[in-house]
Amino acid sequence: MSDMLTLTLAEARDKLRAKEITAVELTDAYLNAMEQTRDLNCYITETPEKARAMAKASDERIAAGKAGAMEGLPIGMKDLFCTNGVQSTAGSHILEGFTPTYESTVSQNLWDAGAVMLGKTNLDEFAMGSSNLTSYYGGVKNPYTKAGSNQSLVPGGSSGGSAAAVAAHAAIAATGTDTGGSIRQPAAFAGLVGFKPTYGRCSRWGIVAFASSLDQAGPMTRTVRDSAIMLGAMAGFDAKDSTSLDVAVPDFEAALTGDIRGMKIGIPKEYRVENMPADIEALWKQGIEWMKDAGAEVVDVTLPHTKYALPTYYIVAPAEASSNLARYDGVRFGLRVEGKDLNEMYENTRAAGFGAEVRRRVLIGTYVLSAGYYDAYYLKAQKVRTKIAQDFKNAWGQCDLLLTPTTPSAAFAMDEKIDDPVAMYLNDVFTVPASLAGLPGISVPAGVDKDGLPLGLQLIGPAMGEEAVLRAAGVLETAAGFSAKPALMAA
């Protein structure tokens, strides 16, 4: 049974279709792995009965020759996606026990493609964080540890539960959502591929909103091919989301030709930040060489407004969040803490229901939208955001894709950064610009640091340039031949 856990999503798919294994067998192996790795706290809610029922139905469809793109593949669903009849918490106390009567478009697309749900994965509260430490349901342990150490590390965030589950073989793949790096950063920390597609590729309908103009769902997988397959099942126009892109979903897997000859890869000089660890600097250089070796042309480009991306993000995202989270008021669903009047009920509910990081961002967001501050903060941030997007547009005149590190460091210890929000926010320095511009960005596991911890390289493409991104990512993956294995893994 344990052999099954080492199969990639693509391999498992092929074996299922060839009837070499059954969906029920594969699902049972993962349910067993989920139990074995429970100590990592990857899942907030496990749904083994649902998983078995779905797997059984998958086997029937496979037998009937009606297998979908994700048929019988057991995945983790980030607990930011609303799932019909299954508690959906967003990692927050305020939604504890909240069971939607509806299914998010992306999760529905996956079920329609035959995927099997193992459970709802842990995350930073309302997807606000880069460590998974802000979850009301507890932090998640990264399956990787430093060589010779058993100190617990974070899996990154906000999709930390998804990252840890896939890395520890407690899911064959998982969904993530990315607002400023929440797919790519944890993928980098857990030695995975994490792909945030173009804003609008995946419907936001039914995903608990953090920052509406940035939130985007994407796959977290062990290989680039797995990401291509899974994104194909997740994406698509949705009339229920006004910001959804009304474009056809290409065959992403077919984009993996392995041929990037003549492709121009831009290297943005502004991503060379102060105090960047030598390991990461070296990996980046190595990545450039791999691209060259594969026949790509490497060009230096400039994205002059990069340094404003993080401050811009930390105005725009909290502003939207402060408004998006107003609906958690104790009136209709979720937690309610009574008070002597309506205002006191609001105060009591939101004080008890939201954790410190969420409260901090709601306060920041409220502040930057307030009369007298709006122009200086929110409006200015929107203008800078336009300039950042323009930087990328200018770069596309010179290159097809950009290659950067995913994160400025490898995974850190669970007790390391929690008291310093700004240090925590710096995790997103390389991922935030593409988010602000709505561009597709993928993190590919490309090497390890001196302690043996995974490091990722990021490829960023123009809007709707997923195919080129995947093609180059495939080449990078092959060249890197990432083979590190986590210390804590189901077997």
Binding site: W205, I207, V208, T243, S322, S323, A326, F333, T366, S370
Partner: protein, 485 residues
């Protein structure tokens, strides 16, 4: 004409601008597919979007945009080809999202104007500042439980047009004429049913007072007035209050006030200091609304003849006065009724008169309206025809009209059944006149002695004998000839 308030220190002028909220007639809400019918059981017309469940997203209802644009065009206003939906953030139990989606800096409709018709037959132009689309909130019910409030979200998310005027009104008459005119326009084009009793239209009045020629005073806002009568009362009461405060040495605070019709007073709801900071910002869930010329053209082509155009036509084609024309075009049904009656009667002025005086008088008294009129336009036309061809006199016609109102019978049938046909046969009337003159020697000699005022008495005698059916012209002529001759 502006209302003047006679204060102790002189005359004060009232300055007003109105914000009218008009519910768009549409099957579903502004951003959700839920139904919008009035009177459903609480929380029966609520979608997941209206209840602001986690992860729910708004999708703009194109029909609501169409009605907003048509209304803008009917207000002769600028249509903005690009407009933006913004979030207006505040907490309240009947506002599930914690924000209202509205339009703030970039509304769909810009400046326009409305002609209002005043009682003296004159018109005045009132400027429109803007029209924007927004969601309605739900309803808090505070009287269902001793300690709890209940929330009904049926109205949550219903599409409203907020129509903002310029501060161009100077009297309660003008303000009510403005509301009536807006109501008339939206009902003509079908963008709102104008039903104030059901909350489909309500007004906020921004009001201040000043001495003639002085700059504008500090204004207060009277919120949520839901009848024309309340608008008038609230304005009169608030203007007097402001004058009293200022003349008493006080200052007007900029604040929102509530009109209490039972107590006949306005009172402070919240002052500017504790006004909400709504933290408006563009709704990231919605793209800017971009309108194409073809869409706007289609909206324009779909507009019917509007009240002002119809009024001008009634005056030009039917020779009606401004006031009568204004009354007849106030709503489409009345105008259509009039045109049908005028055609059947062959006399537009008489038709206008019978409708505005006799029919409206009776409908009012019966507490009903034209939609339930027991008399059809064709029947009024027929009645007028009977007067014009001397079949009945004008006086008899009113009796016939009463009968028509009671029974809905055709006037010809009533005249036939009751034998009310006018006697125009000179010979028949002459013999009656002769009899009366012969039998009333005293009156005859008094008349001939100079008391010519007795003529009316003689006419009365003839009418009495003929049950009013004698043609009054013939009677008069015969009596005069015989008495004077």
């Amino acid at each position: 004409m502006g209302d003047i308030i006679k204060g102790e220190t002189g005359d004060w002028e009232i300055v007003m601008g109105l914000e009218v909220h008009a519910q768009i007639t549409s099957k579903s809400k502004l951003f959700s597919g839920a139904a919008t019918n009035f009177g459903g059981d609480p929380n029966e017309q609520v979608s997941l979007v209206d209840a602001a469940m986690p992860g729910m997203l708004p999708v703009l209802n194109a029909e609501c945009v169409r009605q907003g644009v048509r209304t803008g065009l009917a207000l002769k206003a600028q249509i903005n080809k690009r407009s933006v939906f913004a979030r207006k953030n505040y907490f309240y139990a009947d506002l599930p999202q914690g924000y209202q989606i509205s339009q703030y800096e970039e509304p769909v409709v810009g400046e326009g104007e409305v002609q209002i018709d005043l009682a003296d037959g004159t018109s005045k132009s009132i400027g429109i500042e803007r029209l924007h689309l927004e969601q309605d909130a739900g309803k808090s019910l505070h009287d269902q439980h001793p300690s709890k409030s209940y929330i009904d979200l049926n109205r949550s998310g219903v599409a409203l047009m907020e129509i903002v005027s310029k501060p161009d009104m100077r009297s309660a008459d003008e303000a009510t004429a403005y509301v009536n005119k807006l109501r008339s326009i939206v009902r003509y084009i079908g963008s709102c049913d104008g039903n104030m009793a059901e909350g489909s239209m309500r007004a906020d009045v921004n009001i201040s007072v000043r001495k003639a020629g002085e700059p504008m005073g500090t204004r207060t806002e009277l919120k949520n007035l839901n009848s024309v009568r309340f608008i008038r009362q609230a304005i009169e009461i608030e203007a007097k209050r402001q004058v009293k405060v200022i003349e008493g040495g006080g200052e007007i605070t900029q604040e929102t006030r509530l009109f209490d019709p039972t107590k006949g007073e306005t009172r402070s709801m919240r002052s500017k200091e504790d006004a909400h900071d709504y933290r408006y910002f563009p709704d990231p869930d919605l793209l800017p609304l971009e309108l194409e010329d073809a869409f706007i053209d289609e909206c324009l082509k779909s507009l019917p003849e509007l009240p002002d155009e119809k009024k001008a036509r009634f005056m030009a084609d039917y020779g009606l006065g401004a006031y009568d024309a204004g009354v007849l075009v106030a709503d489409q049904e009345t105008a259509a009724y009039f045109e049908e009656a005028a055609k059947a009667a062959g006399d537009a002025k008489l038709a206008a008169n019978w409708i505005t005086v006799e029919l409206f008088g009776r409908l009012n008294k019966a507490g009903t309206d034209l939609g339930d009129s027991p008399i059809s336009a064709k029947q009024i036309g027929e009645l007028i025809g009977l007067i014009k061809d001397d079949t009945i006199s004008g006086k008899i016609a009113k009796d016939v009209f009463d009968e028509m109102f009671e029974t809905s019978k055709d006037p010809g049938v009533i005249v036939e059944e009751k034998g009310l046909k006018q006697i125009t046969d000179t010979g028949a009337i002459e013999s009656i006149v002769d009899d009366i003159i012969a039998n009333n020697e005293g009156q005859v000699s008094a008349y001939r002695g100079g008391k010519t005022g007795l003529l009316g008495w003689f006419v009365g005698q003839v009418m009495k004998q003929t049950q009013g059916k004698a043609n009054p012209g013939v009677v008069n002529k015969l009596l005069k000839d015989k008495l004077d001759g």
